[in-house]
Amino acid sequence: MDKSKLEAAWPVDEPSPDFAQRAVLRVSRNRARRRQRTTAAGLVAVAMVAAALVVVFWPQLLSSGSGSTIASARETITLSRRATAVLEPGASVSWRGDSVDQPRGEVFYRVDGEKSFKVVTPAGTVEVVGTCFRVQVGSGPAAGGRDVKREVLSASGGAVLAALAIVTVYEGKVQLSSAKERVTLGAGESGRLGPDGAKKLGPDELARAQSGLKGDADPDKVDLSRANDSLAGDIAGLNRRLKSLEAEKAKLQRELLGAETELARRTDGKPPRDRNEFDLDQEDWAELAESGTIKYRVPCMKADGWSPPADKLDALGLSPDDAESIRAAYQKSYERLWPGIEALCMQAIGKKDVVQALGPDTCTHVVTDAERRKDAKGATEAMRQLAELRAGTRAAVDPAVAEHPVYKLFSALTSEMPRFESDLAQSFGPAEAKRLAYAEGMCGARSTFGGPGPRGK
């Protein structure tokens, strides 16, 4: 058996006339859905990442409310919203809000903000406001050979000591207070608080005081000046990190806000469309004009008109008497559209019997396809200018476009629904006419002819 005989004996299904158009529509819809899904997924991902990062970083900025630690090595901790402490090995602190208990060891504090911040030591309480300082708590030989008694220090930028305390200020001001006197230290200054009261220390006195200080926390205390240098580096690093985290937080919050706004806009934020998707206003046309797309719905074109069968009339909420008004409106629509489409189809095909056999819907596609084959650029321009005209962004189409068959065809098709509505309105009133014109039970054809995309692309 040869191929032709086999083909003849083996029947196949034929594609329906609108198969290609449906395929194009499905592809467009899928692509739009994919794009929307991708965008939404992207936005959700950005929102989730932003939220996660805020969750991760926020505690570092805000700190936990309370806690305690004993440093086995140099350790940096965030004590509250505005205080950071660097603990030397052996130092111990516990904190709750803006109050820190430092029973022993050497701790550097960085405090931001205007509010009071307290460090409680065995010797008393230090109140600080916005500064950087170091507190070394230990014991030393008391003046006059007696042990150091507990003192309470009050600092406007802060420090504390117990039996003997050496305070070094890096930024701002610190006030050392004893029962006997008060001393204010500025940035770069050091002071000593002991049984003989509070006093400023010069460089030589500082070195002597530090060498005489017995650190409770670190028996193997090493060169302090080297440690100070290292600590200064840590401070600078901490400051940079804080600033960077703050900037990062602000950026993430902006992104989160933007993502949430966009999500709201794409979902519930947008008011639902209250018209049929083919009932187009200027805004719809403006959107279509961007891609040069033409979209329309037209009543079924039948020479004798069309009226809904009894069950559809009932479903539409109409009485049998309404059938004739509807039929007449369909007939008028046919009489308006078909002669123009027929003439254009004749130009494209040249045989009247073929044109008659094809009918309005197929002729529409035939004319469009023929013109696109003949002059794709002209057909595209005709579609785009018509969409712009409907959008109100163009006062009139170019004279050459006005004569283009594609323009004539789509101009007639896209202007038909208002006329059809107007005919229906004579019997049903404008609101009911609008409802009926786009109702599901009515006979109509919907088409979308995709454009080439934005101008210049």
């Binding site: 086999l6 083996w10 196949v12 034929e14 594609p15 395929a23 794709a376 080439p452």
Partner: protein, 202 residues
């Protein structure tokens, strides 16, 4: 086993290169032209592999949607013809539909059994004798090819009616070309035997 040529001759371009290029770039007008160009052969292929019915429209749509997604990756200057590439997609859609039980294999026999499927018995023959002969041949095809698994029937259809070479069929069905050759041969043999039996009866 009778000799089967391993490669079919390459004809001229099946779609205007400019249209194909625009199609690959995602132009919907060009894609429409692509669908119009190939919708009939895709319908034929699916109908003959699966049997006629409303499922063919659905599966043809699926074929073109998959083709649209894959078109940017199609290499026009490559060795594969556009039609071969598309038929490969359609064949896989058909086989997948059977494997996922979206389409029953029995449809194939039913749709070829003249008079039982709406429209299947309709023919434009000039005489009752010709109608009778067509019905007999259809029964022969249904009897012979209906017993074959869908992928074997696909191999036969692609080779005999869509001009695909055995290596191309092998690629489409993910089997060696030699296996494709065996499947085509067996299907052809079955059909010839069935038709011979009918000739003997009549």
């Amino acid at each position: 086993m009778m000799a089967l040529p391993m490669a079919a001759p390459h004809p001229e371009p099946e779609l205007d290169p400019g249209v194909l290029e625009r199609c690959r770039a995602g132009d919907p007008l060009a894609f429409r032209a692509f669908v119009v160009r190939f919708e009939r052969p895709v319908f034929s292929l699916l109908s003959r592999v699966l049997g006629r019915g409303p499922h063919i429209d659905d599966l043809a749509q699926e074929t073109f949607i998959k083709a649209h997604r894959a078109l940017p990756g199609f290499e026009p200057r490559g060795t594969a013809k556009l039609s071969t590439w598309l038929y490969t997609i359609a064949t896989r859609v058909a086989i997948d539909a059977v494997r996922r039980r979206r389409v029953s294999e029995r449809l194939f026999v039913q749709s070829l059994d003249a008079g039982e499927h709406p429209g299947a018995g309709a023919s434009s023959s000039e005489s009752p004798e010709r109608d009778a002969e067509l019905r007999r041949v259809r029964r022969a095809i249904a009897g012979a090819l209906g017993e074959l698994p869908v992928d074997q029937r696909a191999a036969f259809v692609l080779y005999e009616l869509h001009g695909m070479s055995l290596p191309e069929i092998g690629d489409a069905l993910k089997i060696p070309a030699a296996t494709a050759k065996t499947r085509v041969f067996r299907a052809r043999q079955k059909l010839q035997d069935a038709l011979a039996a009918y000739r003997e009866v009549t």
